[in-house]
Symmetry: none
């Protein structure tokens, strides 16, 4: 069957540039957070979320980012278009996910296969059935036709210049049920030109010994380059992934923080850490492993899930030691009580439950912000206390660098220097008898010695408040017009009190030259939002070179 | 050194009765939730908590419950006294934990060792150093004296009728550093009469292959019965525990839900499930595995941690299916997409309703809710369309079963049957000139033909709205008093429009007999919260048997 027997629209050309600093091809770290990870219950990613996560994954240094299933839903199609236009990848290649052609049609005629080309990603992962019962019951076709579907689709994509990986779904169960057929599927994919054939434990029921044995056998039977895709239903996904590597796999599919359907997927971070630190195998670009903790937490923020405090390597508790027995020994030699130096993964040892921010990290952060605190122990101590006290009340500075810098500068300068002084504000949300909504806010403030009262409407009370603040200040600080709010996230803390909980708001803002994030905490969403907005404008005006003057 | 060379108070007699239905001694499931699990950051157990957890663990059918370190703190001492008096164990034997005698004293003269006898537990676990550097740096004694400490303490406890297990701390690191010495410690414990020598990966840095190899080697070198105690710092504690069993260990130390220091310990539940369901080895009394999900959640409640939704086997999401592809195949044969039947561990399959889902998942979901939609293709089609249309607008039903059921019933009954009709509402949030906050809401509604206006204050505008609604309705629907809001989550969608984004609110509610979740979406947090509250009360009143009547 040839792709040229009927006239076709020319496939979309590949316009995406290769990443500038791609890792060695000998071992693949393949991330599927944006595709399989999004199957986790409670995760619902917007295109903007997916772009942000792709940037974080590229920053971390994975070799491949599976972005979604173009054509299957409009969101994924749009993701590939915008990723192409908006992101310059340094390390990663973008991967489009899709299925082998339908039974009984040519690959070139299957719209789902063509959508994979239209996504213009340089790599395509094709899911293929490899378990005989699944072919017959779920796919409702013959075993022979399924092999043809694999061969045709791989060949068609290869002819169109794509690199192809094939995910053999339910491989391990299939290999147990019908070893001969499962092996034939691998051979078909391999011979048609797939670079890697990925053995998937789709139902997640395997244990490491079984995985290693099967990978070894399939490698011996086919000679194909093999990958592993493990689900965590037995709590062994990380170990299963490493067992596959022991058995000869050189391609590991994982998700950030182990997000994924049911229990989840193999967690990218402990897999990569084990490969680098326990196997001594370089799988990330130089220096990226030390970014692991930060990136894990940043991705959790984007998907709006609390970062797991007990996640291996990157959790807040991962290197936390209860004081007492261990304390004196740790002073003698921390290696006695830690399996690795936490700094290798960007985490820190903590000796006390309350010790959320150590001196060293404050100093490092200061340095990052261009403020050398090394000489002033008393100042650093004051900042540590201040951060601890505020984190106890629900603030978080990990995702709010700008608020942290304002806090730091207030300590250095002895007071918070602001641009205006607020007398009062009020926000009203109303659902009227005629069915219309109204949202209105009023602010009263002093700026440069002048008292200003402004009112504005918005599509919600926070939006109205934001607009009223801008109306009040636009004449005195015209620079505010260049500051945009780009993201707004709300999290309810201690959420077991019904609507009477503490609220934390994170706001991202941008101007022409960059982005910054601020945090606000309060007993309700309006008060918390106000704080975060207030910080956002204070930081933005400072960036714009405006001198504070109340 | 003899225990009779100096007159001593007679050791406390063993008054504890043997459990009535103890598991076979050939394989030990040993739980240390109450001792090592309590080291988890954020866990702080009272004696009453410990007694309750011990009852749950005995109910589950573990063979041994390590209750704490008697003598080390008054709480643990009291626990052993009360457990003896208050609990009749059916399956488990209680274990006291302690250390080998101090250097240079007789075991009989070491108050810490005597406290172990006073606890009157039939079994004692002794922690011993087995890593040469730890002996020298942390214990500050000679390698020879450490061996004598092991021998003497084991012998003394055996002479006093106790069964003894020895935990070799830092064993795997010690075996790598000085294999000869680590092996000598095992031999010393074994020869002195310890029933089991437990190899501990105290720092948690091991991987399964290493664990299996070391266990096998030690078994060959010493002939001792071996156990395993794994920490989860590499994310492999479950796999490491099973690897030790593969290497010949017949005693596994675990904690409920994997609680423990730093990342945690090997999780009891997936270890036991793997042994029973994957290895085909009976390690619990008949019928107890099916209690696993309930017991996991009950223990989480006692330690006051939210049960992990993504825990293998027992998590709420562990058998939740989201992808539409899967749903149609699950209708054919659920075993195609599940590694085990969830009922074997007391869990249930759940279909998540989302825009990835099609007709099949809607039908399965209807069945779950007790509504058979199988016969009505047109109705199912309408519901699918309705769900898709609403999910496009930002709704999510996978975390809002109650809102989905209301939607489903509205389609079946041809209209939404409500309990009241809202004319208008208004919420005001204010930051006053004197620095105080005010949050006030007013609702105007009709219920059972009556027009009601009510106003209330709250700690935020949503809380005020909730209270005003309850004030308005409390006379007409007194059942509302039994409905509590238990959780409240806010998510901003398409969060790239500044504060002008769409807001989604999820509310969890409960009454005396159960919990339910509802969703609201709007252009602001107040409007979205109002919807979610409205659904929460409609569903709660329906549960309470109240007939809808506007």
């Amino acid at each position: 069957m040839s792709a040229t027997s009927v006239p076709q629209a020319a496939p979309a050309p590949l316009v995406m540039a290769a990443p500038t600093d791609a890792p060695d091809d000998a071992f693949h770290v393949f991330d599927t957070t944006l595709r399989d990870g999004a199957q986790r219950e409670g995760i619902n990613l917007t295109v903007a979320d997916k772009l942000t996560i792709a940037r974080h994954l590229d920053d971390f240094g994975v070799g491949f980012i599976e972005g979604g299933w173009p054509g299957a839903n409009p969101r994924d199609t749009e993701f590939f278009r915008r990723a192409r236009e908006e992101i310059t990848f340094r390390h990663a290649r973008l991967v489009a996910f899709g299925a082998t052609r339908k039974p009984g049609v040519r690959a070139a005629d299957d719209p789902q296969v063509r959508a994979l080309l239209d996504a213009q990603a340089p790599v395509v992962t094709l899911v293929a059935k490899s378990h005989d019962r699944h072919v017959e019951l779920a796919l409702r076709t013959t075993l022979e036709e399924n092999l043809a579907m694999v061969r045709d689709t791989v060949s068609f994509l290869r002819e169109n210049g794509r690199r192809v990986f094939v995910d053999c779904e339910h491989f391990f169960d299939g290999h147990r049920a019908n070893r001969e057929y499962a092996t034939q599927v691998v051979r078909a994919a391999h011979e048609a030109g797939a670079d890697v054939v990925v053995l998937c434990d789709t139902n997640g029921g395997m244990l490491p010994g079984q995985v290693e044995e099967v990978v070894r056998a399939v490698h011996a039977d086919t000679g194909a380059r093999l990958g592993i895709h493990a689900q965590d239903d037995t709590g062994c996904a990380v170990a299963n992934t490493l067992a596959a590597v022991d058995g000869g796999a050189t391609h590991v599919q994982c998700t950030a923080n182990g997000y994924g359907e049911r229990v989840g997927n193999a967690n990218l971070f402990p897999v990569v850490a084990a490969l680098e630190l326990k196997y001594g195998r370089r799988v990330l670009p130089e220096g990226r492993l030390a970014e692991m903790t930060r990136i894990s937490h940043a991705i959790a923020e984007v998907v709006n899930l609390t970062p797991s405090t007990h996640q291996p390597y990157v959790g807040l508790s991962a290197f936390a030691h209860k004081a007492g027995l261990h304390a004196s020994a740790i002073k003698v030699d921390p290696d006695l009580y830690q399996h690795i130096d936490p700094e290798r993964v960007g985490n820190t040892m903590r000796m006390l439950v309350s010790d959320m921010a150590g001196r060293a990290s404050i100093e490092l952060k200061g340095k990052e912000l261009g403020v050398d605190l090394g000489g002033d122990r008393e100042l650093v101590g004051r900042v540590v206390e201040r951060v601890k006290e505020r984190e106890l009340r629900g603030y978080t500075y990990e995702a709010a660098d700008a608020s942290f810098e304002l806090l730091l500068r207030a300590e250095i300068e002895g007071r918070a220097r602001r641009y205006y002084r607020v007398e009062s504000w009020r926000a009203i949300a109303e659902d009227r008898p005629d069915g219309t909504h109204a949202n209105e806010a009023t602010v009263k403030l002093w700026a440069k010695g002048e008292r200003i009262v402004a009112t504005a409407e918005g599509n919600g009370p926070v939006n109205a408040l934001d607009r009223a603040l801008r109306v009040a200040l636009e004449r005195i600080y015209p620079q505010l017009a260049g500051i945009k709010l780009t993201d707004y996230k709300v999290r309810i803390l201690e959420g077991n009190l019904g609507t009477g909980s503490i609220t934390r708001v994170l706001v991202s803002s941008s101007d022409e030259t960059g982005e910054w994030s601020t945090v606000g905490v309060g007993e309700n969403v309006i008060a918390a939002s106000w704080q975060a907005l207030d910080d956002a404008y204070a930081y933005g005006l400072r960036r714009a070179g405006v001198e504070p003057q109340e």
